[in-house]
Amino acid sequence: MKGMSLIVRTITRLLVGFILVYGAHIVLYGHLTPGGGFAGGVMLACALILLVLAFGKEAALDIVSENAASAWDCIGALLFLLIALLGLTGGYFFRNVLDKGKPFDLLSAGTLMWSNIAIGIKVGACLFLVFLVLAAFRIRDEG
């Protein structure tokens, strides 16, 4: 898949960092503001999809390959399961065992922030992989 024109590529090069940071912000502040793991993960995936659209598939795959996306997908899910199993130390599966801190702080609400991070990683990698798989059919048609 070829990329797009010079203007699009320049703007993308400037903006991708900001989109990634914004997605990470939505994920990290998920217990305080609306959003959380899923919405932030979708934005992370969109940043990577923007790379594919602007630079073409080969250049984007050099940055995050298909195998890497699949591996991060599984790692995110296993991390979430690990956090849930951590609750067993507090007596119940999935219990919120970490320190709750002060309300409205970033490091409050115990395991919520870490669960959001795990889900953000998983959803980001998973949606990017879905896009790659769906876009692959077009490649075979053109070539």
Binding site: T33, P34, F38, P103, F104, V130, V133, L134, F137
Partner: protein, 114 residues
């Protein structure tokens, strides 16, 4: 009462699209409309008259606000995620079907019968 009836009409429109349309993509859009109608129903159920978004603030008069029910909103987010997974799957199936059969017409994709 009005919004609930309109929501049911959207649901029925989605069912009509799934049942009566011949193009695979239109059937998929019908599925999506049914999903949106059910999510809308959950939103309508959670509403409280005069309520605001259920986010606590640090303001002093926070305790006196009326908030809408936050539980249906969690259900809706879950339902949207499930819908996303389903949509990804059905679109991938559709692409593969086009590769194999060469058409999007449901009436021509009928090898299984009897």
């Amino acid at each position: 009462m009005g919004p609930y009836i309109l929501c049911s009409i959207i649901l029925l429109l989605g069912v009509y699209a799934v049942v009566a349309k011949k193009n695979l993509i239109k059937i998929i859009i019908g599925l999506l409309i049914i999903e949106y109608a059910v999510n809308l129903m959950l939103v309508l159920i959670g509403y409280r008259a005069g309520g605001e978004a259920p986010i606590r603030t640090e303001a002093a008069q926070d305790a006196a606000r009326i908030l809408v029910d936050p539980l249906p909103q969690a259900l809706i987010v879950t339902s949207i995620v499930i819908g996303l997974g389903l949509t990804a799957m059905v679109v991938a199936l559709c692409i593969r079907l086009y590769e194999k059969y060469g058409t999007f017409d449901v009436l021509l994709i009928r090898r299984l019968r009897g």
